[in-house]
Subunit: 97 residues, 4 copies
């Protein structure tokens, strides 16, 4: 597949970068449009997530701890138990329990 | 609105944290379910975005530069021009143009 | 104090950015040299920190837990206890203990 | 070298984590002390760097652009030129120059 017009900087040839071809320009525009649309959706989703946390805060929940709960629930349970046991051992050794 | 069961750590009373009430537990479960569902959607979207970048790379585009283009297109055009002019002045003063 | 040559982009005047003055160029070079020297020192320190973690790993310590210990020891003890109590309540309500 | 007392969570054996030995506790304390001392030095250095940026700002320099200059000067010059050429081509194809 002939490289459209792009000489990616990593393997750029010494010759100056050539101008794009109509086909490559169109391809680039389509790629950028798709990325920007997906990023808009992502931005909206992150706003929804923030809204749920704000609502939770309004209902008296501790958002910092709630985020910790969400992180913990993503972890493998067995692995978490083992890490907590090791953590307890270390904190005990340091007098920080 | 009586605080369900949560004493957020920031304003936690000296009394030990009480157990949840059925209503508060249910509220917490609903909040966590909503956050986890939204985070799953976000994760899927980020995979879609990565897919487009991978596709672009396969078509010979420079992904690092492509990301820079997406960032630049989010900036206010006038502000960008001014920053680039100041950048050029600084790099010139440092002999880095 | 007359602004040397820099029109910071935020408050850039409509006139194009003027070239620097010898004094401003010298000032900029001195600032950049100081920042770069401090960043070199920071880089060396971060390498030293990494080295200690690598050594700890070599001695059989769990680096992930060790980092957690370092983070925990930076927290206010009372605050940490309260957060852990709230966390326990939430995880209990979700059946994740 | 017999593993002191730590069963790193990654390869934790099914047996419950044993208590530390005096020697392992001492080793852990030494490691934590070294890390915390190095992190204090790093924190002081970062304060120094911030101070230089604040001073630059007070002298009319644009801190955002100054940070960009510091980043750019870390890049390989040839690589930077090639990336800027590709960037220009992409922005041109998108009508964003």
């Amino acid at each position: 597949m002939a490289e459209p017009f792009n000489h990616s900087s990593a393997d750029a040839v010494s010759a100056p970068v050539q101008g794009g071809t109509p086909k490559a320009d169109e391809q680039l525009r389509a790629i950028v449009a798709r990325i920007e649309r997906l990023e808009e959706e992502k931005k909206a989703l992150m706003a929804d997530i923030k809204e749920v946390y704000d609502e939770a805060k309004g209902n008296g929940f501790d958002v910092k701890v709630l985020r910790q709960v969400i992180r913990i629930r993503k972890q493998d349970r067995q692995e978490r138990m083992e890490m907590e046991a090791v953590l307890e051992t270390y904190l005990g050794a340091l007098g920080d329990l």
